[in-house]
């Protein structure tokens, strides 16, 4: 079967600076992929290239058999959605209005949302457990609630592929688990393919079936959490001493940090 997303010899970055260097990788339909690596290793740059925010300097990205550079913006946004680290909104949109914005790729310029669009937005709210917040002002929500609403907006786009850039970094542990459980549910029940940048190695180990470890703009190692999250790999990339055990509950790798100062 052909990969859902195929990245071929991709290089890219900002202006003069190339951050990603000659990367090739494939994302299969139904994957829950975690991208990990030190700060500045190119994780976010890869997501920005794959979601057309940045243009590649070399190489290309093929989504469902089509080069994304040749796709029309709205065509692309109907199938690929993106959730940022934190979305701060200056205007007092209601939660429902924000989720309804996810329908924009499906609408013509002067179209008002149809009953169907409203139903899709409502079901995105139900899936993310935010239906009761529907009429609230987006700025009155907690960070965890806001992130779930932003995920609902992405779901209203009805994507087959969802990118997330450190979606849990501003959340407390309860909200982290809540958000990631939601993504797991969507991945399993709706066959939504997920590619997520994460800082927390243990969360990546817990939720992702594939992990890609980045180092200095290249892929250092990719595979299952067991293959990637070894102490050798992590120490080589992060230059930090760690111990990797097995999580007693699910026997997935569990990374323990070892401080230098005792």
């Amino acid at each position: 079967m052909e990969a859902l997303l195929k990245i071929n010899n991709l290089s890219g970055g900002y202006h003069e600076k190339t951050i990603i260097n000659d990367i090739s990788l494939e994302i299969q339909s139904g994957d829950f992929t975690g991208i990990i690596g030190p700060n500045g290793s190119g994780k976010t740059t890869l997501l920005r290239l794959a979601s057309r925010i940045l243009k590649p300097k070399k190489g290309n990205i093929v989504f469902q058999g089509k080069d994304i550079a040749s796709m029309r913006s709205k065509e692309f946004s109907k199938r690929v959605a993106f959730v940022q680290q934190d979305t701060l909104i200056n205007f007092s949109f209601s939660v429902f209005e924000i989720v309804l914005l996810g329908r924009i790729p499906h609408l013509g310029r002067l179209d008002f949302e149809t009953k169907e669009d409203i139903e899709i937005a409502n079901s995105a709210l139900r899936m993310t457990d935010t239906a009761k917040l529907k009429d609230k002002n987006i700025n009155e929500l907690s960070a965890g609630e806001r992130q779930r609403v932003i995920i609902a907006k992405a779901l209203a786009q009805e994507p087959v592929l969802l990118f997330l850039d450190e979606p849990t970094s501003h959340l407390d542990i309860a909200h982290q688990i809540q958000a990631l459980d939601l993504l797991r549910k969507l991945n399993r029940a709706n066959k939504l393919t997920i590619v997520m940048v994460l800082h927390d190695l243990n969360l990546a180990s817990e939720y992702c079936n594939r992990v890609i470890l980045f180092n200095e703009g290249r892929i250092f190692k990719e595979g299952t959490p067991h293959e990637v999250l070894t102490y050798q790999n992590i120490e080589a990339v992060y230059k930090t001493v760690v111990v990797v055990n097995n999580n007693p509950i699910n026997s997935k790798p569990y990374v323990i940090l070892v401080p230098k100062e005792k």
């Binding site: 202006h15 946004s77 909104i89 205007f91 949109f93 209601s94 209005e97 914005l101």
Partner: protein, 316 residues
């Protein structure tokens, strides 16, 4: 929502009637329709028309800049339009080509300053909101300084007439110009409405809008071009009228929310009402003298704005 629009439309109707019957001499509506009063009726109708387009044009331009800069304190003159137009006018008066060329000079000044601001703010083919705001402020201050400099060294009597320019007036003196500008402003507003969905997306963030499939840079350029044309055109017939473009969008956002599909039409009507009423006050408060309309909008606007702001803070 429909009820709110209906109420606004009734208020608009009432304010138009009020605008027609009042003036330095109040004439009841029935008498106004008599033949001998026709010139007065026409004159007042034109004033009301000017108020309508000035109000809606400025308020919608305000909405656009607020959305693309994601800053609810942006106003239509942010891009240096007012000081550019002022400088154009001053130069025209000093070199003695005022009269029919005055609006043209003001228009050129406004457009030139917008081009300077835009060029300064552009980096790597992108327009960042901070640099746009900053270069707008810098250019406005620099041009205002040149205006004051020219006024102080020239001693030209005609420059005393500049006050109305800097504080606005709805006096109509050129019918063709008014017709042309009415056309520009109405077409401009219609085109802006066409982009209301894009503005909704951009107002929550440029990257968010990109992820929703919107070509943010082109949309921003088109919208800036349209608002610049609207404000520059309005400046050359009615001078600088402050507060409308800032306050009415803000007030209407509190009433109907930030969705531009609703916000734009509602703001158009509300700003038209506000402008007609301000004009009525400016004509009737000290007859036969006329207070510059910008003074009225500021005196009425500032306290209303403060009350609304305080109330919305308390609601949070």
């Amino acid at each position: 929502m429909k009820k709110k629009i209906f109420i606004l439309l009734i208020l608009l109707f009432i304010s138009i009637i009020l605008g027609l019957v009042s003036g330095s001499v109040a004439i009841p509506f029935t008498k106004l329709l008599l033949k001998e009063n026709q010139p007065i009726l026409i004159l007042r109708a034109l004033r009301v028309l000017t108020a309508l387009i000035a109000g809606s044009g400025l308020a919608v331009s305000g909405i656009v800049l607020q959305a693309i800069l994601r800053n609810s304190l942006a106003e239509p003159y942010l891009l240096g339009t007012s000081s550019g137009a002022g400088l154009g006018a001053v130069i025209a008066i000093i070199i003695g080509i005022s009269g029919i060329y005055l609006p043209l000079a003001a228009f050129i000044g406004a457009v030139a300053s917008i081009i300077i601001v835009y060029t300064l703010a552009k980096q790597n083919h992108k327009l960042s909101e901070q640099s746009l705001i900053l270069s707008g402020v810098i250019v406005s201050v620099a041009l205002s300084a040149i205006i004051v400099f020219l006024v102080s060294i020239s001693g030209n009597e005609a420059l005393h007439g500049l006050t109305w320019w800097l504080w606005g007036s709805l006096q109509v003196y050129n019918l063709k110009l008014l017709a042309l500008i009415t056309l520009i402003v109405s077409l401009g507003i219609a085109m802006i409405y066409f982009f209301s969905q894009d503005m909704n997306a951009i107002s929550i963030g440029e990257e968010e809008a990109l992820h929703l499939g919107i070509d943010v840079e082109s949309v921003k350029k088109i919208l800036i071009l349209i608002t610049s044309l609207i404000t520059a055109s309005l400046v050359c017939i009615c001078g600088v009228i402050g507060f409308v473009g800032l306050m009415i969008p803000h007030m209407m956002r509190l009433v109907v929310g930030p969705n531009h599909k609703v916000l734009i039409p509602v703001t158009c009507i509300a700003a038209a009402i506000f402008m007609v009423l301000c004009d009525v006050i400016s004509r009737t408060i000290f007859p036969p003298l006329e207070i510059p309309i910008g003074v009225i909008t500021a005196i009425l606007g500032a306290p209303t704005f403060i009350v609304l702001l305080k109330r919305s803070q308390r609601a949070k």
